[in-house]
Amino acid sequence: MTALTPPTVDAAALAARVAALAAEEGVADIAYAQVDSPAGRLVAARTEHGLVRLAYEDFNGGLDAVLEALAARLSPRIVEAPARLDDTRRELDEYFAGRRQAFDLPIDWALTTPFGRRVLQATAAIPFGRTSTYAAIAAAAGSPRGARPTGNALGANPIPIVVPCHRVLASGGGLGGYTGGLSRKELLLGIEGSRPG
């Protein structure tokens, strides 16, 4: 007989099925999907508890860097399982289409510090179409040291858009900073009809 040649295979569909099954049955700890939006491509990741990361892909070093950070901080058992993020994608689509003002997604705060979580929960309470200030959020989160640590906590928001840190502005009326770049903060405030100036 001639030399043994490897069988011809295309494992892509099987691999996708394994990833989906692993996410469904909890063998994987994190499921992720890439989501296109008017604010650029996003990486959405969830655990069994809820949405744990929503990253602006370009602003965070690309998909690989986002996944590597998740692997290092939470678990390397990460799979691409878009079906597990259908709710996230749908709510984001509705938000960007102007048909949704509040997100109903469960949140996993695993990537936040206790203080960061207080800041972000105070931020999550700012309604659609309204804005607040770093000083006001610092006070609401019980920050003894004023607005600076609060600004840092907002900058480290692992779940922007859904936790609306874009609604926090500088006390003088300026935009302040944003975890996805200021043009995105303006875009989101524009969608909500609260672009300053």
Binding site: V18, A22, A28, V79
Partner: protein
């Protein structure tokens, strides 16, 4: 340095694991074994030592799944009339392209079958195969040579 996201392991090695399983089991049983291989691997993944040879590790798991399937088949009684069918097609599935040669490999003794599938379907070196099978490199080469000799004899007989 932490482990890379498992999705990357899956993307990089899915084809070679499936090639090995198709060669070892036929297409009919390869799909289930593929799923079980990667689910088992994912469960064990956080305990994998940094710097391990991930490909050899995955194929070790796949090899064990394949052994389970072969043992299951051996336990089931095979009516003589079906044997010829199996030799030709493996579980009665139509074989395409080069799958026929692998159907013959599946009739070889377990060690020879394992070595030939790991060597020629998964492209492992004999050094890697010796670690997967926990045998010497020389034993791996010998099993490959014996297996290939048997296949040649079958063809010319």
């Amino acid at each position: 340095m932490s482990l890379e996201p498992f999705q990357r392991v899956l993307d990089r090695h899915a084809d070679e694991v499936l090639r090995f399983l198709v060669a070892s089991l036929g297409r009919h049983d390869a799909d289930d074994a593929f799923q079980e291989t990667f689910l088992s691997a994912m469960r064990a993944y956080p305990k994998l030592r940094r710097g391990s040879d991930v490909r050899a590790w995955l194929l070790t798991i796949a090899h064990r799944k394949a052994i389970d399937v072969h043992r299951g088949r051996a336990r089931r009684a095979i009516p003589v009339a079906e044997v010829a069918d199996r030799l030709a097609g493996g579980e009665g599935m139509p074989e395409v392209g080069d799958d026929g040669q692998w159907a013959r490999v599946r009739t070889l003794p377990a060690r020879q079958r394992a070595v030939l599938t790991l060597r020629y379907a998964a492209d492992l070196s004999h050094a890697e195969i010796s670690r997967v099978l926990e045998c010497s490199e020389a034993a791996s080469r010998r099993a490959a040579a014996d297996g290939l000799a048997t296949l040649r004899m079958e063809l010319t007989a």
